[in-house]
Symmetry: C2
Subunit: 401 residues, 2 copies
């Protein structure tokens, strides 16, 4: 058995990881129907005008504004009604002086006309329309290209594609877009005590929990997750797994990173690549290992389910987002008061799970081996490394799970 | 042409929709690997203990606590070292009085032993281990069932499955879970002016934008989206579409709900089912229609892309979430100051899109026909119906897009 090396603070750990994290450069082409939440890998400049023609913004009458000059409440001007234009129909006739055309919202403005008057502001009389006020030229008309004009940049490289950006792509007729591939993250539970779901537990075994919790937390942050088979506690098996999964951008092992004789993670990384740190001053999650093997980020997470999942939120989520080029969303939080005194370990940042009841936070932590420390919790509080006591009733920020 | 009926306020509209909205009762069975973000349709009670055996929570030595009584810094007690127990291995021998076993975190406690002493607190000496303090019985041991005991409810009906709840299911060996089906929402653009992506625009036509913006906004809120073909402006075509998509829980039309002669949405709903409202006092989005046809919620959204998408956020998102039984997340917001005076229409709730620059909100709205009113915006502010003016510099809450 050997002790962990010098523990580093969580901020230092995150900064060391950040230094090794490279945004994904692989590209793929997706339909804009599937592009929601993806990150554009290209700048897209419109080659067309949207709308491609001047169109009416109201239901009413297309007129020449000059024909309405002099109109008033008492002295309306009467224009002869020509054709009726629906959205999608093509005007057949020019609107001449003294004429107007009935026009629907979105319909193409006929030649000659330059403005629309709302139907509510007019009156109809024997094939003529009465107008009661002079209007300005261009009223209620969307000129060609007012939404997007030719040569407008619609999407920039690195833009997160939300519904409205996807809408702008549709507007210019763009069907496909180059996006950055999602980071491919392999999740590998290690340990001879771990049994796959669907098998019968032998004495001494427990079910694989971490693959499932990690898959959820990683995919929620923009990763493609590859669930790998359970690997035994042997350097050879672990090396084999790394070799078979060279195409992953990141491998997350769980288990095998504590201080026992069989704690192989640090060895594995040292033998195969470069160990960056081993041991972080956090609770739970202390025996966390990180290194780089052939350009691949390799994490050794504690096997304890709560420690492993807590690390996924604190360490893996920002890392995956930065690889995926997706901005980090601040976790949702509420303010609560501690139900009781909590003693923390000075020198370690403590992530304490809590249940919320009417604005009061009750510690929910059992032990980091217990998944119910988190599954039966509503959120967690962060007790900084230099704080060793929360008093009963103290105001705390609870980050919601 | 005919006017909209009495406009109703947005709160009344939402409350009328809520009254007609039923949570989905259809079920499906999914693997827990795919259950992230789904809603459990069953209560799951554990039939097993987790852990299934007493296990060590530390790397160290399994002992009988009573053997350490009387130990002190100056007078250590020496116990003979028996077997070595790794996680996953099955103890072969009982720990007898005067003996101990080396044990790794997670390993099964051997018979006889009741406690673990951390390796750091001991010393090794010629096949014996020295213990320097008396420990309490049960120290660093997770008893059988401490995480989840038989008959514990692990997941309740209606629980949103987050990573830790999925982890708890894995812990009890559960592979599949019954979840509520996602609401199936058909999205149907209407209007003869709308052209499908990939086709060549004819004069008077614009591309279909709303199917893509709606698909993004709806799926982000828990819907399964069925993209339907563009339908022309005829009652018969619209009725045919409703008939063909009876299996949808909701149909969202866009276009055809303004006041023009061809505004068929209200007619369609009245003819086929029950019209609940036609016209909401919001800007943009006034000509919104809602009704129920054969148990299916039917929305007629304005064809204007910004009005349509704004409605998706304000009206459709809460409706879909309530059908999906997924709690509504408050939209992320920031506080900013208005860059200039904004005049609003009294009596209508106004959703104004803005760009953010260094804490200042600049109006981004062009016209509701312009998708770039939203695509080039960072968020929107809500101006209540009874407010008609924001002054320059006024503090506003910007809801991020």
């Amino acid at each position: 058995m050997r002790p962990l090396r010098r523990l580093i603070q969580i901020d230092e750990a995150l900064s060391l990881i950040r230094k090794e994290t490279k945004p994904i450069t692989r590209l793929e082409i997706v339909s804009i129907a599937d592009a929601y939440g993806r990150v554009s890998a290209e700048e897209i400049v419109s080659r067309v005008d949207v709308p491609p023609f001047a169109r009416s913004a109201m239901d009413g009458y297309a007129v020449r504004a000059s024909d309405t000059y002099g109109a008033s409440k008492l002295k309306p001007i009467s224009l002869r009604l020509g054709e009726v234009l629906y959205a999608g129909s093509v005007p057949k006739r020019k609107v001449k002086k003294g004429e107007c055309a009935e026009i629907a919202t979105g319909a193409m403005l006929p030649r000659g006309a330059d403005s629309t008057v709302k139907v509510e502001d007019t009156e109809r009389k024997e094939g003529h329309i009465l107008f009661y006020e002079a209007i300005r030229r261009g009223q209620f008309v969307s000129a060609r290209g007012t939404d997007i004009s030719r040569r407008t940049r619609v999407v920039s490289k690195g833009d997160l594609l939300n519904p409205s950006k996807i809408g702008a792509l549709a507007a210019i007729g763009r069907e496909m877009i180059k996006v950055y591939s999602k980071p491919l993250v392999g999740v590998a539970p290690t340990g001879n005590e771990i049994a796959a779901l669907g098998t019968r537990l032998r004495p001494g075994q427990v079910y694989n929990i971490n693959s499932y919790t990690l898959a959820g937390a990683l995919s929620a942050n923009g990763a493609d997750v590859r669930m790998l088979d359970i690997v035994g506690d042997s350097l050879q098996e672990l090396q084999g797994l790394l070799k078979r999964n060279r195409d992953c951008d990141m491998i997350v092992f769980s288990g095998g990173s504590s201080v026992g004789e069989r704690d192989l993670m640090a060895d594995l990384i040292e033998v195969s690549g470069r160990l960056v740190f081993h041991g972080v001053a956090i609770k739970p999650g202390k025996p966390t290992v990180f290194g780089v093997v052939g350009g691949q980020l390799v994490f050794g997470m504690p096997g304890n389910p709560t420690a492993c999942l807590s690390n996924a939120y604190v360490i893996l989520a920002p890392t995956v987002r930065s690889m995926a080029r997706v901005p980090l969303e601040p976790p949702r939080s509420v303010i609560a008061r501690m139900s009781k005194r909590v003693v923390s370990t000075k020198g370690r940042t403590h992530f304490l799970t809590v249940r919320l009841e009417g604005g009061v936070a009750h510690p929910a932590f059992k032990e980091s081996g217990a998944i119910t420390s988190m599954a039966f919790a509503d959120g967690y509080i962060v007790i900084p490394a230099d704080v060793d006591l929360l008093v009963k009733g103290e105001r705390v920020t609870v980050f919601l799970l």
